[in-house]
C-alpha cells in the first residue's frame, strides 16, 4: 500500500501541470517545446543559484533566522527572475501569441521546480511503510508554486513583452512582481523566523498564490483591453 501512497502524492504534485497543459488551449498550439526549453533554463538558473549560495552564504549552526543571510538569499533569488526574463524574451519561440507564451513558460518553470525539489524526497520517502502527512503537504505546495510561477510569468510578460501599457497600472505591475519574486524569502522567514508549522506555511502559500494569481489575471486582462479595443 505504500506505492499507493506514492502514486497519490505523485498525482497531487505533478497532476495539475499535466491537467493545465491539456485543459487550456496550450495543447492545441503545441507549445510543449517552449515548456521544455523553459525547464532547461530553470535547471541552469538553479545551478547558478547554487554556486552563488555556496560562495557567498555562511553556514549557520542553528536553525535561526538571520536577517542579513536572508537578504542575501533574496538577492540571489532574483537570479530566478533573470532566468525567467531570459526564457520569456531571448528564447526563440515559434509564433505563438503572448497569451500562450507566458502560460507555457510558467508551466515549464513550475514543472521543472517540482521535479527538482520534490521528486527525490517523494520517491525515497513516500514508498516506506511509515505514514506522514509531509508528502501530501508537499504536493499542495507544488500546486501553490504552479500558480505563483504562472503569475510571475504573466507579470514578467507584461513588464518586458508588452510595449503599450496603461500608465496607472505600471507601478502595480512592478509591485506585484516584486512580491511574487520575494515569496520564497517570505516563506522561509515564516518557517524559521516565526516558527510556523508546515501545514500553516503551506496554507499561507496557497492563499497568497491564489490572490496573486487573481491579481495578475485581472492586470493581464486590463492590459489586454486597449490592444483589443
Amino acid at each position: 500500500m505504500t506505492m499507493f501512497h506514492f502514486f497519490n502524492c505523485a498525482i497531487l504534485t505533478f497532476g495539475p501541470h499535466a491537467v493545465y497543459y491539456s485543459a487550456t488551449p496550450l495543447s492545441e498550439y503545441d507549445t510543449l517545446g517552449t515548456s521544455v526549453k523553459t525547464a532547461v533554463v530553470y535547471l541552469i538558473t538553479a545551478l547558478v543559484k547554487l554556486v552563488c549560495l555556496a560562495t557567498f552564504l555562511k553556514v549557520s549552526e542553528s536553525d535561526s533566522f538571520d536577517p542579513s543571510q536572508e537578504v542575501l538569499k533574496a538577492l540571489i533569488g532574483f537570479i530566478d527572475v533573470a532566468g525567467l526574463y531570459f526564457a520569456l524574451t531571448q528564447l526563440t519561440h515559434r509564433n505563438i501569441s503572448q497569451n500562450h507564451k507566458f502560460q507555457a513558460v510558467g508551466l515549464g518553470w513550475a514543472f521543472a521546480d517540482s521535479v527538482l525539489h520534490r521528486l527525490a524526497p517523494l520517491w525515497v520517502g513516500a514508498r516506506g511503510l511509515e505514514f506522514t502527512w509531509d508528502y501530501i503537504l508537499q504536493g499542495l505546495e507544488a500546486n501553490a508554486n504552479l500558480m505563483l510561477s504562472l503569475s510571475l510569468a504573466a507579470l514578467g510578460s507584461l513588464m518586458w513583452l508588452r510595449k503599450n501599457k496603461p500608465k496607472t497600472l505600471i507601478p502595480i505591475i512592478y509591485a506585484c512582481a516584486g512580491i511574487v519574486a520575494t515569496m520564497p524569502s517570505i516563506t522561509s522567514y515564516l518557517r524559521w523566523g516565526l516558527k510556523w508549522h508546515l501545514p500553516e506555511v503551506v496554507g499561507f502559500q496557497m492563499l497568497t498564490s491564489l490572490t496573486m494569481a487573481l491579481i495578475s489575471w485581472q492586470l493581464f486582462a486590463a492590459c489586454q483591453k486597449p490592444s483589443s479595443a
Binding site: 500500500m1 497532476g15 520517502g125 511503510l129 511509515e130
Partner: protein, 568 residues
C-alpha cells in the same frame, strides 16, 4: 560520406551508454531501502532450545503484524496481532491461555520495568518500594519458568520500557479502547522484526578456566602436596539469553572465587607465608546443564591430581545469604571429612555472626540430574561441599541466573561476609590454626576482604550476559576472567569442550524491532478519490475559463455532434 556515418555511430554509442547509466541509476534508486520507522528498539528474543529433541521456548524469530495492547476483547482473534504487554499488566488468564495452552497469537512483546535495565545496575538500588520490587521479581521468576518450559510457536521478545514505547503503547490503548483494533484496513502501528529462521548452533563450546597456586614444598617433602579446590560456575541460563546476567547465580560465586584467589595469592607470594597446600581454582561453565562443564573438567584431570584433592569447596549464590548460608554435602554428616569442613566453617561463622546450616542430599547415580556442583566431585569420589545461600536444591534450569536475577537484588555485604567466611576457614585449615581465635583476613589490614573489588566485579558481571552456547572460545569476557585469574595465580589453563548432546540451542537472540505508523487502505482509497475529483474539477475549470463551457460539453459529446454536422 564517411564522417556523417561515424558521427551517427558515435552518437548511437553515446545514447546506448547513456541508457545503461540511466538504467543503473533506476536500479540503484529502487534498491534504496531506508529505515524510516518512527521507532526502533533493541529487543531480546526468548530462548529456543531442545532437550533430547523435545522443543522448548519460542520457535519463531521474525515478526510482521499489527500491534495490539492488553485491552483486547476476550475471545477476539489475535493470530495476526502482536500484543505489547508491560509486565505489570500480565494476568493469569493471559498466561494460561496463550503461553501454556498455546492459543494462536501473532507475537508477544513483553516490556520490562526500567529498574531492571542492565545499565542501571551499577548503582546500588534504593530501598524505596522494595516490596514492589520483590513482587516484580517473583512475578518475573514465575513468568520466566513458565516461558522456559513451554513450547511457543510465535515470536516472544523482551524490551525495556522507555518514552517512545510508552507513547506508542498509549496510542494503541486509545485505539483499542475505542474498539478499533489495528488491522490492515484501519491503520495503526505495525511491528516488524526481520530475522531469518533461527538455526541450530553447531557444537556449542563450554570453556573451563583453571588456576593453579602451588604450595610450599618443604626440602624433605617428596610426597605430592595435598590440594584444595575452590570452584564456581560462571555461566547462566534464562528466558532471554541477551539479558541473563545472573548477578547472584552465579555472579556472586565468581566474584567470591576471584577475591579468595586474590587473598591467597598475597599470602602465597611470600615463601614464608606459603601454605603447605596447593590451591586449584576452577571457573567452570555448563552449570545449568547439570554441571556438565565441571564433569568434563574433572574427567580431564590426571589421576594423581584427582587423588591429591583433599576437598573441594563450590561457591554458589553467595549474595542471597543474608539469612545464613547452607553447606550442602552428599556424604552423610557423620563422615569425618564432612564434619571437619563443617566445623571449620561454623567456627568462623560464629565469630562473624553468620548462621551456617548443613544439608545432606544423597546422590542417585542413575539420575542424570546434578543439582549441586559438589555432586560432580562426589561422583568421582572426591570430598566436596557447596556453600550456597539457597537452602533447597534447584530443579533443572531453575535458579540459573535469568533476567530477574538482577544487581538490584544482590546484597554486597552478604557476598563480602560469605567470602570472609570461606577464606578464613580455608586459611585456618591450611595453616593449621583450627580452633584458635586467629583472624587471618582481619578488617583494616592489608589482607582484608576488599569490598570495592567485589563491587566492581559484581557490577561487571551484572552487565554481561553469559549463556554458555553463545559465548565463543575467545569471548572477551572469558579472556578477562582468564587474565584476572592469571594476575593472582601462577598458572592458568583454558579447557574447551562441547556441551552434552542432550541440549540443542538456536541462534538469533538479539534483534531490532521497527515500529511503523501505518495508514489504512481506506485512507489511501479516500485520498485517491479526493485527488481524482480535485484534478477533474481543475480540468473542467480550466477548460471553462479558457475555452468556454461549450468546449467542455463537446468533449463528452463529440461523436454524436460530428455525425449530426455531417448529416446536416
Amino acid at each position: 560520406m564517411e564522417n556523417p556515418r561515424n558521427a551517427a555511430e558515435g552518437r548511437r554509442q553515446m545514447f546506448e551508454s547513456f541508457y545503461s547509466v540511466i538504467a543503473l541509476v533506476f536500479i540503484l534508486v529502487a534498491c534504496v531501502e531506508l529505515c524510516d520507522a518512527s521507532t526502533v528498539v533493541d529487543v531480546y528474543r526468548l530462548i529456543q532450545y531442545d532437550i533430547s529433541g523435545v522443543p522448548f521456548g519460542s520457535r519463531v524469530a521474525s515478526l510482521n503484524h499489527h500491534a495490539g495492547s492488553s485491552l483486547f476483547a476476550p475471545g477476539s482473534d489475535l493470530s495476526r496481532t502482536v500484543v505489547i504487554l508491560p509486565l505489570r499488566e500480565l494476568n493469569e488468564t493471559f498466561v494460561r491461555e496463550y503461553i501454556e495452552l498455546g492459543k494462536p497469537l501473532g507475537g508477544l512483546l513483553l516490556l520490562l520495568p526500567r529498574i531492571f535495565r542492565l545499565e542501571n545496575s551499577e548503582t546500588v538500588g534504593g530501598h524505596g518500594d522494595s516490596s514492589d520490587k520483590e513482587n516484580m521479581k517473583k512475578l518475573l521468576e514465575d513468568l520466566e519458568q513458565k516461558l522456559i518450559h513451554s513450547s511457543i510457536n510465535y515470536a516472544v521478545y523482551f524490551a525495556y520500557e522507555d518514552e517512545d514505547l510508552d507513547t506508542v503503547l498509549a496510542d494503541i490503548k486509545k485505539n483499542d479502547a475505542a474498539g478499533q483494533p489495528a488491522t490492515a484496513t484501519t491503520g495503526g502501528y505495525k511491528l516488524i522484526v526481520s530475522s531469518p529462521t533461527p538455526k541450530k548452533l553447531a557444537s556449542p563450546t563450554i570453556t573451563n578456566i583453571q588456576g593453579w597456586l602451588p604450595g610450599l614444598k618443604g626440602d624433605g617433602d617428596s610426597n605430592q602436596l595435598p590440594t584444595i579446590a575452590i570452584v564456581a560456575s560462571y555461566d547462566t541460563f534464562g528466558a532471554a539469553p541477551g539479558l541473563s546476567v545472573g548477578s547472584d547465580s552465579n555472579g556472586s560465586g565468581v566474584v567470591g572465587l576471584l577475591e579468595i584467589a586474590r587473598l591467597f595469592s598475597t599470602l602465597y607470594s611470600n615463601p614464608h607465608t606459603r601454605g603447605k597446600y596447593n590451591l586449584l581454582f576452577g571457573l567452570t561453565s555448563g552449570g545449568p546443564y547439570n554441571y556438565n562443564g565441571t564433569q568434563k573438567w574433572l574427567r580431564s584431570f590426571d589421576q594423581r591430581l584427582r587423588e591429591s584433592i583433599d576437598y573441594a569447596i563450590c561457591l554458589n549464590s553467595l549474595g542471597s545469604g543474608q539469612n545464613g548460608l547452607w553447606v550442602h554435602v552428599s556424604k552423610p554428616p557423620e563422615n569425618a571429612y564432612v564434619k571437619q569442613i563443617f566445623q571449620g566453617l561454623s567456627d568462623v561463622a560464629e565469630e562473624l555472626g553468620l548462621k551456617v546450616g548443613l544439608k545432606h542430599k544423597k546422590i542417585n547415580v542413575s539420575n542424570p540430574r546434578v543439582a549441586w556442583e559438589h555432586e560432580q566431585f562426589s561422583r568421582l569420589r572426591v570430598t566436596a561441599a557447596t556453600v550456597s545461600g539457597l537452602s533447597v536444591a534447584p530443579n533443572l534450569l531453575e535458579n540459573t541466573g535469568g533476567f530477574s536475577d538482577n544487581r538490584e537484588f544482590v546484597s554486597e555485604e552478604a557476598v563480602v561476609k560469605s567470602v570472609k567466611l570461606v577464606a578464613e576457614s580455608l586459611a585456618r585449615h591450611i595453616y593449621g590454626q583450627k580452633g584458635k581465635k586467629m583472624d587471618i583476613f582481619a578488617d583494616n589490614t592489608s589482607l582484608a576482604v576488599n569490598p570495592c573489588y567485589i563491587r566492581s566485579w559484581l557490577d561487571l558481571l551484572s552487565t554481561t550476559p553469559r549463556v554458555a552456547p553463545f559465548l565463543s572460545k575467545d569471548n572477551p569476557f572469558i579472556m578477562a576472567l582468564k587474565k584476572e585469574l592469571a594476575d593472582h595465580v601462577v598458572e592458568v589453563n583454558l579447557q574447551h569442550d562441547v556441551i552434552d548432546g542432550m541440549f540443542t540451542f538456536y541462534d538469533s537472540t538479539v534483534n531490532t524491532l521497527q515500529i511503523y505508523q501505518v495508514a489504512s487502505v481506506t485512507f489511501d482509497l479516500l485520498l485517491l478519490l479526493v485527488l481524482g475529483s480535485y484534478l477533474i474539477t481543475l480540468f473542467s475549470f480550466l477548460v471553462i475559463t479558457t475555452r468556454g463551457v461549450d468546449d467542455l460539453i463537446s468533449l463528452f459529446r463529440r461523436p454524436p455532434s460530428s455525425r449530426k454536422a455531417k448529416s446536416v
